[in-house]
């Protein structure tokens, strides 16, 4: 047998193995997760039940579910099933080492960048993604940062070989920073360098310019040559917002700015989500009345005035909950670790008064609703994507172990750099 024969043999074997693999995948299209305590979030808890997964979706959830033959059975005795968590403000995949500029891709220079898309700065091989999903986070709302109009946010699943495989929505909202600090990249501080009035004017002037551009564009299309019209990306890419097809996610913090922003989005007829709202607790009723949903940021280090109380930022979610504001949590971390602390932020809010079930909703169903994907995720219901976390206890508690995570019906690898490095050095010390 010469070399060529060996090559042919190897190739045949390879193809056969591939074929066998494909057959196995088809049979394993159905999973039955059995003997679980199930917390659907959208409905009552199920003390002992079954989740049936077919393909990427949840087929059935209940105490009594018929398991079809050929289904791969996973015994969840002792485990609780939760919906996969959703991080509503993340830089996952967009930064690796925060002070190594070459690895930082979530922020762009310039004031007005509606053409920028977060999903176009995404690196699927980031070490931070497997770490975050090992905590039960299955999707992340990734955010481009900038000084004024920062660009379009995106929604990614925390698995996938390529950006295409990861991207669920390549645009969710236009991130706009309320410009009370013109010239700064982005600010969490409540102190101001520009009064709210001026900031509002800046936004209104811009939106006016965009609308005029839109009008000229329409006129030029109706009667070519009638008006001069040229592609201007700072206007063109903002048209979906003024035409009501894309919501705005407005980063805004101080009490005065929030009040001004509430009036602004009403006057300009913008669909809006507010982010950050460090002093949102002061105007919770106004936010509720205006029906504006809110995404909270880094709960460990959120800005607050010393005089307002050392724990003001931790108590804020409970205040919003009581006022009836729809809110979700985001990790908003530009210093790694990224994303993984979402459940622990939720626990912090509970420690300072937020109802535990409300906290769970803030990282699951509320998040999905605010991001416009509650038909896809956020709860364990038939028809939704099978994004499921199996834990041996409360995933918000430190001592809990996350035993399995499913994204789009597939069990994901929970190994990550933490576990890899430990395994490596356990060998050194054997």
């Amino acid at each position: 047998m010469n070399r060529r024969h060996l090559n042919v043999l190897a190739l045949t074997g390879f193809l056969l193995a591939g074929g066998l693999q494909a057959r196995a995948a088809a049979e394993n299209d159905v999973f039955a997760l059995m003997n679980l305590r199930i917390i659907p979030v959208s409905g009552k808890d199920i003390p002992s039940g079954i989740i049936l997964i077919r393909g990427a979706r949840i087929a059935e959830v209940g105490a009594d579910v018929a398991v079809p033959p050929g289904a791969e059975v996973i015994d969840g005795t002792g485990l609780t099933a939760y919906p996969g968590m959703i991080d509503c403000h993340s830089y996952l995949g967009m930064l690796e080492i925060s002070n190594v500029a070459a690895t930082v891709d979530y922020q762009e220079t310039g004031l007005t960048n509606p053409q920028i898309k977060a999903v176009e700065g995404l690196r699927p091989d980031s070490v931070h993604i497997p770490i975050a999903r090992a905590h039960g986070i299955t999707a992340a709302h990734i955010i481009p940062e900038g000084a004024f109009v920062a660009g379009r946010t995106g929604l990614i699943r925390l698995t996938g070989w390529t950006p295409d495989e990861m991207v669920i929505r390549d645009e969710v909202a236009m991130h706009m920073v309320f410009p009370s600090h013109p010239g700064f990249l982005f600010m969490q501080m409540v102190g101001k360098t520009q009064p709210a009035e001026k900031a509002v004017s800046q936004i209104k002037d811009y939106l006016k310019r965009v609308r005029l551009y839109g009008e000229r564009k329409r006129m030029a299309a109706d009667r070519p040559g009638s008006v001069p019209h040229e592609y201007d990306e700072s206007c063109e890419e903002m048209l979906p917002v003024v035409e009501g097809r894309l919501p705005v996610m407005l980063s805004v913090h101080s009490e005065e700015d929030i009040r001004a922003a509430i009036d602004l989005v009403k006057e300009e007829n913008l669909k809006a989500i507010f982010f950050g709202v460090s002093e949102g607790w002061k105007v919770a009723d106004d936010l509720k009345k205006a029906g504006i949903p809110v995404i909270l940021g880094n709960l460990y280090s959120a800005y607050h005035d010393f005089d307002d109380g050392y724990d003001r930022h931790w108590r804020a979610p409970a205040v919003l909950q009581e006022a009836g504001v729809l809110f979700a949590l985001g990790t908003q971390k530009m210093l790694p670790p990224l994303g993984k602390d979402l459940p622990f932020f939720a626990a912090k809010a509970v420690a300072f008064g937020l109802d535990r079930r409300a906290a769970l909703r803030a990282v699951t169903l509320n998040a999905a609703e605010i991001l416009g994907v509650d038909d896809l995720m956020g709860s364990l219901e038939p028809g939704k994507l099978a994004n499921i976390v199996l834990a041996d206890g409360d995933p918000f508690e430190f001592k809990t172990k996350i035993k399995a995570v499913f994204i789009d019906g597939k069990k994901v690898d929970l190994n990550n750099l933490y576990t890899d490095k430990i395994k490596q050095f356990q060998k050194r010390f054997r």
Binding site: N99, V200, D263, Y300, P336, P337, K348, Y418, T419
Partner: protein
Amino acid sequence: MSEKTYRLILSVFLILAPVSAGAQDLFIKDGTLLTVTNGTIAEGDILIRDGRIAVVGSDLKAPSGVRVIDASGRFVMPGLIDSHTHIALTDTNELGAVVTSEVNVRDMVNGEDRRLFNVLTGGVTLIHTMHGSANPIGGQNILMKPKWGRAAEEMIFSAGPGSLKFALGENPKQAIFYPAKARYPKSRMGVKAIIRRELIRAREYMLLWDRYHASVETGESDPRPMPPRRDLRLEPLADLLRGKTWAHVHAYRADEMLEFLDLAREFHFRIGSFEHASEAFKIAKELAAAEVGITCFMENWSYKMETAEGIANNAAFCARHGVTVALNSDLGPQMMFLFNQAGKALRYGGLPEEEALKLVTLNSARILGVDDRLGSLEVGKDGDIAIFNRHPLSAYTRCEITIIEGVVYFDRDAYLETQRREEEKRRKEKKKKDDGKRPGRPAGPMGGGR
């Protein structure tokens, strides 16, 4: 009176003496006591006398006239220690030179730094506040108890060996300014060479002074010898070589920590801890054998190249291999919840609860050389206590009361009550101001003010 009797009376007096000005008596009753060194005592009591723990037990009776803290349903642990921070200082780094062992952060103390209050809310009763990591040899560091409201001098805790800051890696070589600033050292090679150079000079200096003292004692020289010239930069290094001071060494990478261990062996000085030590897990056995501790983050990492492998399992892995591991905040928001960082050791490496508690108590005291005074609920130790509404290692816990030497410096209920009253006052004042303005105009951007 004989020497022996005199010493006996003196030691009795010292034991009974209050640990410092402001120390008081306090009785804590019916709490779940997490002693750290002697397990858990359910429905336990602690009596603090003159700022020191006098009794630890259960079913005790409060002595008359002593303030009682009802800890029923709550968890009582030793006050937490932040073993690496820079608060309460008006400056952190002496940037004017590369070797600045002569500077002492004590000269920069600011007792009005509000973060002293903030750390109290997290149950912290001792901080190791330090010179920064801009220089290979930084400066002298101090311990403070955050006795919020008292003068800065009263906060300084003088027990234990001296503490001298060293730094290795990216910061002392000013990596982020490269190539703009041309200051030696620009590489890890230079950092090491500079430290070695200074240690050699310090050793010569120390021998010079030792010889001088010896000759003065024996009186052999006539006329009496001239003392060597004092060098305030070499003196702290000489104290390091004499064992009076311990080194605390900012380092991330395993290789540079190993090199520094060699240096310490060569010059016979003690390393209290490596600070940050992200890659300590790679050399856990070497660290354990050298009896050198680490004080690290549970999870901050990947913020510069040398932290690219700073995994969260570092702390638990090192602890399991016999390294003394402490946690710190280094100015991060964790300064207010170091107990959560300890709790995360349960998730990242499955450290047993007793060991996790040590990460912010006894181990921190050990690396600072003050474990005879702090770090556990034991008779004779300082009455520094933190009381939580739930187990301190639960993610749902909250610190409610912080006590230093028997004095309550933080009481959450009292704090919230004060907050409520002040908020009410502010609201009334605002209403008065608004009512004075044009009536009927709503607040908003065009309404002028709030």
